[in-house]
Amino acid sequence: MKFIKELINQIAYIFTAVVLIISFLTYCGVVYPLSLVDSVSTLFIMALCTALIVVTREHFMSENSLFKTFIGVLGCAVVVFLIGYVRGWFKLNFDYVIFILAITVAVYLVVWTICLIQNKRDADELNSQLNRINNKK
């Protein structure tokens, strides 16, 4: 149940971040415009796969956070390239690869920042609960 909840949260964060970035880039003419259904379905599949990588990694990998980050970014990049290429969203030439990698890292950083903010909020909430218990003693 915790896994599913974490997965849904991650999908929501990644999907929102990627939709905002891709919408902006499509508006600027950097990526090929697709139909609304195609864009939403492609982005949702990307968000689902990358969220699965991120959440599964949290469950099964060791505590080494640098290696975990590397695996996370690499996994997300592979998913984005595979799905993007299969759905015909971009060509696999050098410029595009660098560009898509930059977007992947940008989305990863956005989601990481959201998680960091949420983590800070959780710590504050736990501390205030702890203070209330200690004050009642």
Binding site: H59, S65, N119, A123, K137
Partner: protein
């Protein structure tokens, strides 16, 4: 709830007598708490065996299928598995905070968020324990329960 405490030198053993109409969901946690309070854990250190009270334990950790009990200054090994200890101690002040650690909530000084997406609990003896994100909700729930009890 009425609370009667009789203090006298004639008693050689502490006894808790609970009188109620029915053991319902409000009374059951109290019974579990009293049972957990009286529970002691058989631990070893330097070939000596000790009976440790849960209130003296800061945290319990499982490393390579071995269970270690951390008190203020001493570390003891224990034959019981972590999930067995969790089932016996979770009615009290202990809660699982990662796959390998049970923490005594009453000895936590505060929480701090870490850059790697985890939380860190600082104990009153200065030790720092990692709290996995997957256990944050159950930790909040436990603290809310404790707030209600106090």
């Amino acid at each position: 709830m009425k609370l009667n405490i009789e203090e006298s030198t004639i008693y050689t053993q502490t006894e808790v007598l609970l009188r109620c109409k029915k053991v319902d969901n409000e009374i059951k946690p109290l019974i579990d708490y009293i049972k957990a309070y009286d529970f002691t854990i058989k631990c070893r250190n330097n070939n000596k065996t000790y009976l440790i009270k849960p209130t003296e334990i800061f945290y319990i950790e499982s490393i390579d299928d071995k269970t270690f009990v951390y008190c203020k200054d001493e570390v003891y090994s224990c034959d019981m598995r972590l999930y067995v200890l969790e089932s016996k101690l979770s009615q009290g002040v202990f809660i699982r905070v990662s796959k390998s650690c049970l923490l005594n909530i009453s000895l936590i000084k505060g929480f701090r968020s870490l850059i790697n997406g985890k939380l860190e609990a600082e104990m009153t003896n200065g030790e720092r324990i990692i709290v996995s994100r997957h256990y944050v909700q159950s930790l909040k729930k436990k603290l809310t329960e404790m707030e209600g009890k106090k």
